[in-house]
């Protein structure tokens, strides 16, 4: 088996199942009533944290390919990104339920509208979620073709914006202990930094600058 085949036939299915792990834990804890005194809060925090974690893992695929010389890792990226979206949907769903049905005041979107318009940490979190929705909707091969590779890539660079907003959302949410959101922030800065360093190197090498922007990431000099 070639490296690419190995990643496609072994690593990818394994990663698919492993990525369902957090969801399986959650279901188990719901079924066994193991969510503590405030299950809604626990589910909200858990799904949010998992979504952010998957965003970081997704963003680390490209640097990992370069670093490890494992180009076929690209085959995992879309799947992992969609898992980030999946956990973000769960996160938004439980939040949405909490601010509508569970308010106990009848079904009204008033609380959500108030949140999104008045509370910055919700505004940025909601924006990040909308971005992820757009990226998930355009994640199919068909959409890549329809949008054209370059436009598609530029659209999907928004994943960095979504990740940054996600970290901000987390940072603005905590009361005093910023260690955890700060850790996510540092990881994101590291991933962005790795990308920028590579860009600069590529620009510095004339021959590389002429080369077409490979599937790996940012379309260099396309503007």
């Amino acid at each position: 088996m070639t490296q690419a085949q190995w990643i496609k036939r072994v690593v990818k299915p394994l990663a698919f199942v492993a990525s369902l792990g957090p969801f399986a834990w959650l279901v188990r804890d719901i079924v066994t009533g193991n969510l503590g005194a405030n299950p809604v809060e626990r589910i909200t925090h858990f799904t949010g944290l998992t979504a952010l974690t998957f965003l970081m893992i997704t963003l680390s695929i490209t640097p990992a390919r370069k670093l490890l010389g494992l180009s076929p890792l690209i085959q995992l990226r879309r799947m992992l990104g969609l898992y980030a979206f999946f956990y973000a949907v769960l996160h938004f769903t439980i939040y949405g339920l909490d601010r509508t049905l569970f308010e106990g005041t009848g079904l009204s979107l008033g609380s959500i509208i108030e949140d999104v318009s008045k509370r910055p940490y919700i505004t940025v979190g909601f924006t990040a979620f909308l971005i992820l929705c757009a990226l998930a909707a355009t994640s199919t091969n068909g959409m890549v073709k329809r949008l054209g590779g370059k436009r598609w890539q530029r659209l999907h660079q928004l994943v960095y914006v979504a990740a940054a907003l996600g970290v901000l959302h987390f940072l603005w949410l905590v009361k005093a202990d910023i260690r955890q959101p700060a850790t996510y922030g540092l990881v994101l800065v590291g991933l962005l930094g790795a990308r920028l360093v590579r860009e600069r190197r590529r620009r510095a090498t004339p021959s590389a600058a002429l080369a077409p922007p490979v599937r790996s990431g940012v379309a260099v000099g396309s503007s």
Partner: protein, 304 residues
């Protein structure tokens, strides 16, 4: 006016101690997984919804495993996990400042001299969750009178133990240590303000603020300072810890008030622990009849 407990919680509504202790065992024995699922996911919230707005005491298990006590970590499950390092004996509590008779009390002397009476209080956290807790304690005012405050005493400043060996959370700089809280003297003298030594008829557990803590039921929970080692009667308003950390979010008064939102979330409604559907938050946490007069003429928006 002596108020032994809020008028709307009858002692008959309190779960019998043996019953709540056996609750988990009962579920387990009757419980095929299906029953447990039904209880947690379907029945519990539905029951809660059908209950209306009563004030059933929150199970001991929830009171002792879900709370904020940053001295043991910032997750609400941390205090129960880490508070075993706290040594509630020997313990002294110093009363000083603008008093004629400053004194260092031994906790056992306090417990003997001030027998605990049960007070079932609503407890509203600033994070918009709430509980109903059967505290045992005595009136703070009676205790303070022992020290004979001078006419200069206008406020009481409370200080939590500062000992990173006993309180591992203090090794981080999450909050400026030690934790400090304060009350206006007339608030402290109010008969609803109590010093707590018991929970559910037993010594208050470490994670809930052993061996002695405050319960001020008309204010957000962070005012009810835990594991107190010092009370100082002072002339000026004390700078309480959360106000120091985030002055635009947490004030000195911190009276429960559905009309004044926290900048990052609404305070209009709250989730009673154990219930799925939220209930309206009441002004002064429902103790307005007793305490509203303390704040007559004050702009509660300004003095939040």
């Amino acid at each position: 006016m002596l108020i032994k407990r809020p008028p709307d919680i009858r002692s008959s509504e309190i779960t019998d101690q043996s019953l709540y202790l056996n609750r988990r065992a009962f579920i387990r024995t009757t419980g095929a997984a299906v029953a447990a699922v039904t209880a947690e996911v379907v029945a519990r919230p539905l029951m809660a919804a059908g209950q209306g707005l009563d004030d059933k005491p929150t199970p001991y298990q929830d009171v002792t495993t879900y709370n904020n006590f940053y001295e043991f970590g910032t997750d609400k499950s941390d205090p129960a996990k880490h508070a075993h390092t706290l040594k509630p004996r020997p313990w002294t509590l110093r009363v000083e400042g603008e008093v004629l008779k400053p004194k260092t009390w031994d906790i056992d002397e306090i417990v003997t001299k001030f027998p605990a009476e049960e007070r079932v209080y609503r407890h509203r956290c600033v994070e918009a969750w709430s509980m109903v807790i059967p505290w045992g304690g005595f009136e703070l005012g009676k205790f303070l009178k022992q020290a004979e405050p001078t006419s200069f005493a206008k406020y009481v400043e409370f200080t939590t133990l500062h000992d990173p060996k006993q309180m591992p959370g203090q090794r981080s700089g999450v909050l400026p240590w030690p934790y400090v809280e304060g009350l206006r003297l007339d608030e402290a003298m109010h008969p609803l303000a109590i010093l707590v030594t018991q929970l559910y008829g037993r010594p208050v557990p470490n994670q809930n603020g052993a061996p002695i803590r405050l319960a001020v039921p008309w204010k957000y929970g962070f005012k009810s300072v835990k594991s107190i080692v010092r009370m100082r009667l002072v002339r000026e308003e004390p700078n309480n810890t959360w106000q120091v950390v985030a002055p635009h979010e947490y004030g000195f008064y911190a009276n429960v008030n559905p009309a004044v939102d926290h900048p990052r979330w609404s305070q209009k409604r709250e989730r009673r622990i154990g219930e799925l559907f939220k209930r309206p938050t009441l002004l002064f946490n429902g103790y307005g009849e007793q305490v509203a007069s303390l704040y007559a003429g004050m702009d509660l928006r300004k003095y939040f």
